[in-house]
């Protein structure tokens, strides 16, 4: 089972956190910090697996991670998951993000928290792998986008107009 999926950048700033087991808000933040601490001090060409931090279950759990330029993608899993399988799943996740955002960058994760969560939800549900077929995932996301656009026209105009505005305003928040 996947216990948690974390994305943070090279400075340890969280960009996505998804826990599949209940933890208090404080513990969630501690887990993110602990995981960042464990992962970030590792060299670039060592292996992609290590024992989990104490907060998330210690040696019964593994952290499986990949480092892409500015971001770390970390899956915390128990012993029932295949390490290499999860490693490939991270790759599928990233490739899917790349397809949905066209040249995905860190900022996309910040501005589209909801989209990233939706994409992840198509792949992993309640800690188990739901779908691994990238085309299937992208089809689902496209269908969602279509649905959004098909909703009442008033909304659409409003949405499109304000997207630009809002993007700016969010920046100056």
């Amino acid at each position: 089972m996947i216990k948690a999926i974390l994305i943070f950048n090279n400075h340890g700033k969280p960009r996505l956190s998804k826990f599949y087991q209940p933890y208090s808000e404080d513990t969630q933040q501690q887990i993110i910090r602990e995981t960042f601490h464990l992962v970030s001090k590792r060299d670039e060409n060592v292996c992609n697996f290590l024992e989990g931090g104490l907060l998330i279950g210690g040696s019964d759990n593994k952290l499986i991670y990949r480092h892409y330029a500015t971001l770390y993608f970390v899956f915390c899993v128990d012993s029932s998951e295949s390490e290499l399988g999860i490693l490939d799943l991270i790759q599928v996740f990233v490739e899917t993000l790349d397809k949905c955002f066209e040249n995905v960058c860190e900022l996309d994760l910040i501005f589209h928290v909801d989209k990233v969560h939706n994409i992840l939800a198509e792949m992993v549900m309640g800690g188990m792998v739901l779908e691994t077929n990238m085309n299937e995932i992208v089809t689902q996301i496209d269908a969602q986008n279509k649905l959004e656009k098909s909703e009442p026209p008033v909304m659409e105009v409003h949405l499109q107009k304000s997207t630009l505005l809002e993007r700016k305003r969010f920046l100056h928040l």
């Binding site: 697996f49 210690g58 040696s59 790759q91 739901l130 691994t132 409003h158």
Partner: protein, 943 residues
């Protein structure tokens, strides 16, 4: 790490990065930007709050926008304490966008015990019934993500129906399967097996591979608890797997990942098969073919250079090897698996080396492949020396430990020791434990064992836990063939100018016991031994000094020639007036002991320690604790079966006569012991008295001896009531008039926790009315080596005959323990002694002359008829011992009053010994027949 096979996602520098409000904290601006971030976020939170609270209704888009902002702020670690209600409102919207953001907020921010759950459940119920697959998907996701018990109660009945309904869409089926799995994990009792189970099994044949994957996950989890129910899944899984592995890489289209057909599903199917033993011959043949095909494919040239291709292929391969190891029945496959892993051990991919080491660990415990694994020893040792990654080195240590047996133990232990010199701090303690275990387990020659442990202390003294040095002492004490060597070796090791405190402890203990074995050599004469130890004394901590003081007093016995030197040391102000109470007390008592006691008494008190009872190595227990129960136990047990009890031998005799005060007998017990040999119990006054009064019979065997043990407490209030391999029960009690208080001490003698520890006092109805007992429950968990105390408040309402029973139940390891002992609360405890003159005594004696008031018993002496002991027993019984009352000086008379809540009962007793016949006549006269009867019974048992 390999490069991702893709055009650098996230490679482009952040666009307008610095514009963003939570501008990235660079190390030098951390504090400042953190402050700025908090300020801005608080401002934004206030803004959103006012929007939500404002009069103007927000449109859907604004709601979505603000909820997204809240999510982001939450991600950064700030508490969000509002917006939940708004999110719940969004759930009932008909717009997809609003519904979706509502569900997202809830699955991230609502924890399972929220009060909103009822409202949320309502919305979910509507969406599940909507027959709109998108809405159903959202609702199922929400259930799977929150997964609370309330949700399980609401939906556990509904979801199986959705899952197996004929008209459910594939994507909904997938979600329903995983949703059900989540609910089963949360509340298995709410997901009863039923008709739907067989239909779920048939989902393994579904056209849609996504559905099959989700169903396989579900079945794997359910089958672990209900193997019978899902047995038919085995043949379906095998045929599905067979179709996948033999398919061409294009057959499965979208589910082919970098030329590997459906790797995730293959892994899941292989996992499912690991829930079951090898299948029937027909299915087994097909499965073996599959596994062989997978092993063959590993040898084929790769279809792509991309790392994704090799990852996917090897994910399947490793899982196939796991299944082969799990079945542990096909020697041919096992050896092939081992060879394959052997290739990976030298692979250039670090990930593969890591996984190969890990898989080989389990392979090493199979009897078919243990020898094959051993052939890779050089590679593994090399990995230990050259791997750059500590994760990998740790796996190498694990594998060396797993492949160790008598033939290679010396080599492996030597390599681990040399690795220890440079090992990462994070894994040193574990390596120390492993070395200590291997050295003990495979020692043929115990001099090697002693050398190894001393080396451990020298190299990594700080990481040598108490269990390790306790254990070496246990072993040296139990094996007389190694004692001389041990003494010589520690003596030599102590010569080093700087040695670790643990070495001083071991050295102090061993020389104190066996220093005489090397004293013949002028280079290690008693004085030299003493001076050597004493030169370390002032550098050591208090517990070590306390241990050394005990060594010194043992030296007084072993070497009379250094007695005065040691007495001078003990007499010095730094000892006698030491600020530490323990040290001071030891110095005072040992000095006194060495002065007043005759040589014989010294020799008895300070006799060599008796052998320790054999028990599970406490080090092994510690390693299990450290690594989690599964990892070590299974391996250990498998190994134990193979190399049946390597160092096994007859159990040494249990602790013999009163050699040492009993608390120290447990010194090297599993953790709870005081840190000194032969130390007196710190609380008691006179050392000698303790030595003799706390006689060895205090350590009774099991419940059969309970009756005897009970009798011993009639005349005393403190001591050990019960003891077995696991548990010790001690008592301390005090009584005053009709009230009493008893302290029961439960000591866990093992290093493993006792769980569900529940002591219960059982009284018959009769007893309950006459004796009132009050107590509080104790903590249900008793840690290894710990002692818990329970207080019983006692009130004697009316005289009584029976005794309460103390029943203790607990779980130790996997087994249920149940112990019952009689609790020694007896009528005589409520005695108040009464002094009276001869005249008064006989006057009252005559007054109590009716036949109901007198009870007499004539019985044979069970113990030597010693006047002083008899007197002590009568006083211990509670009555006054009246001297010069009886005309015959050989007789004993006593008087007292039994206090109960309702009455007071005067009691007179007379005991007439007949030395020639070795008989006694005991007469009790009291104002109440039942009291006379009971007291006579109780006291008769004592002589």
């Amino acid at each position: 790490m390999e490069s991702p096979g893709l055009t650098f996602p996230f490679g482009t520098e952040l666009r307008c990065h610095t514009l963003f409000f939570c501008c990235e904290a660079t190390p030098e601006s951390e504090g400042k930007s953190k402050e700025a971030e908090i300020k801005r976020i608080n401002k934004e939170l206030a803004n959103i709050r006012s929007k939500f609270k404002g009069d103007k209704a927000l449109d859907g888009y604004s709601k979505k926008k603000y909820v997204c902002k809240l999510l982001f702020i939450f991600l950064l670690g700030h508490d969000i304490d509002f917006g939940h209600m708004e999110a719940v409102n969004l759930l009932s919207s008909n717009r997809y966008t609003e519904k979706q953001i509502g569900y997202l907020f809830i699955s991230v921010l609502v924890n399972s015990n929220s009060e909103l759950i009822r409202l949320i459940n309502n919305a979910i119920k509507n969406d599940l019934a909507s027959r709109n697959p998108t809405f159903m998907g959202l609702a199922l996701h929400c259930i799977a993500n929150v997964g609370s018990r309330e949700m399980a109660e609401a939906f556990a009945g509904e979801i199986p129906k959705i899952l197996v309904a004929g008209d459910t869409m594939d994507s909904v089926k997938q979600s329903a399967a995983l949703c059900l799995l989540r609910l089963y994990r949360t509340s298995p009792d709410l997901v009863p097996m039923g008709d739907w189970t067989s239909r779920v099994v048939h989902l393994l044949n579904d056209q849609h591979l996504g559905v099959v994957t989700a169903a396989t996950s579900l079945i794997t989890t359910l089958a672990q608890k209900n193997p019978e129910e899902f047995k038919t899944s085995v043949s379906l899984a095998v045929s599905r797997l067979s179709r996948i592995v033999t398919s061409a890489s294009t057959d499965l289209q979208d589910y082919t990942y970098y030329f590997v057909p459906a790797p995730w599903l293959s892994v899941k199917l292989l996992r499912l098969l690991q829930c079951y033993p090898p299948p029937d011959p027909a299915v087994r043949g097909r499965l073996t073919e599959c596994l062989e095909t997978i092993l063959n494919k590993a040898q084929e040239p790769p279809k792509s250079k991309k790392v994704q291709h090799s990852n996917a292929k090897n994910a399947v391969l490793f899982e196939a090897i796991s299944l082969i190891i799990h079945h542990d029945s096909e020697p041919n496959l096992l050896v092939r698996a081992c060879n394959q892993l052997g290739q990976f051990l030298q692979h250039r991919e670090t990930n593969l080396r890591y996984l190969a080491l890990e898989s080989m660990c389990t392979l090493a415990s199979s009897e078919f492949s243990h020898e094959a694994v051993k052939t890779h020893i050089e590679t593994v040792i090399n990995a230990l020396k050259t791997e750059r990654d500590v994760s990998v080195r740790q796996r190498a240590v694990d594998l060396l430990y797993a492949m160790c047996d008598r033939s290679n133990a010396q080599q492996i232990v030597a390599e681990m020791l040399s690795y220890l010199e440079t090992a990462d701090y994070s894994i040193r303690e574990e390596i120390v434990l492993k070395v200590a275990i291997l050295a003990e387990k495979y020692a043929v020659d115990y001099t090697w064992y002693v050398d190894t442990i001393l080396n451990l202390i020298r190299i990594a003294g700080d990481y040598v836990s108490e269990e390790v040095w306790y254990r070496v002492i246990q072993i040296v004490i139990n094996r007389d063939d190694v004692q001389g060597y041990a003494a010589k070796t520690v003596f030599e090791a102590l010569q080093a100018p700087a040695c670790h405190e643990n070495l001083v402890k071991v050295g102090g203990y061993i020389l104190g016991e066996f220093g005489n074995l090397i004293a013949g050599d002028p280079r290690s004469s008693p004085l030299i031994q003493f001076n050597l130890l004493h030169s370390k004394f002032h550098l050591c901590s208090v517990p070590t000094r306390a241990l050394l003081l005990s060594t010194y007093i043992k030296f007084v016995n072993l070497f009379p020639e250094v007695k005065t030197t040691i007495q001078d040391v003990l007499r010095s102000d730094s000892q006698l007036k030491n600020a530490d109470v323990e040290l001071q007390q030891r110095a005072v008592e040992y000095l006194r002991l060495s002065t007043v006691a005759s040589t014989d008494i010294l020799a008895t008190v300070l006799e060599e320690m008796p052998p320790f009872p054999e028990r599970e190595s406490s080090i092994l227990a510690k390693l299990k604790k450290k690594k989690g129960p599964n990892t070590v136990t299974d391996l250990e047990e498998a190994k134990r079966e193979r190399s049946a009890d390597v160092n096994g031998g007859p159990e040494p005799a249990p602790a013999s006569a009163a050699s040492t005060p009993s608390p120290s007998a447990d010194l090297l017990g599993l953790g709870a012991a005081p840190p000194a040999p032969a130390g007196p119990p710190p609380s008691s006054g006179g050392l000698l008295v303790d030595v003799f009064s706390d006689s060895p019979s205090a350590v009774a065997p099991l419940a059969p001896g309970s009756e005897d043990n009970f009798a011993r407490f009639v005349c005393k209030n403190n001591g050990v009531l019960f003891e077995n391999q696991l548990l010790q029960i001690g008592l301390k009690s005090e009584f005053r008039q009709n009230l009493g208080r008893m302290f029961i001490f439960y000591g866990n003698k093992t290093s493993t926790q006792f769980l569900n520890f529940t002591p219960t006092l059982i009284c018959s109805d009769d007893l309950q009315t006459n004796l009132s007992l009050q107590t509080k429950p104790v903590d249900p968990t008793v840690d290894g080596g710990a002692q818990v105390q329970q207080i019983v408040n006692i009130e004697c309402v009316c005289d009584f005959t029976e005794a309460p029973v103390l029943n203790i139940q607990f779980r130790y390891g996997g087994t249920f323990q149940n112990v019952s002992v009689k609790l020694p609360i007896t009528l005589n405890k409520f005695f108040q002694p009464t002094e009276m003159a001869s005249q008064d005594f006989f006057q009252r004696w005559k007054q109590l002359s009716s036949p109901q008031q007198e009870v007499q018993n004539i019985f044979k002496a069970k113990h030597p008829m010693d006047t002083e002991i008899t007197k002590a027993k009568i006083i211990g019984f509670g009555s006054a011992l009246l001297e010069d009352v009886d005309p015959n000086p050989a007789n004993f008379v006593g008087a007292g009053i039994i206090h109960t809540k309702t009455t007071q009962i005067g009691c007179l007793l007379r005991l007439e010994p007949n030395l020639q016949a070795q008989m006694y006549r005991l007469t009790l006269r009291t104002s109440k027949e039942t009291v006379s009867q009971r007291l006579c019974e109780l006291l008769s048992e004592q002589f």
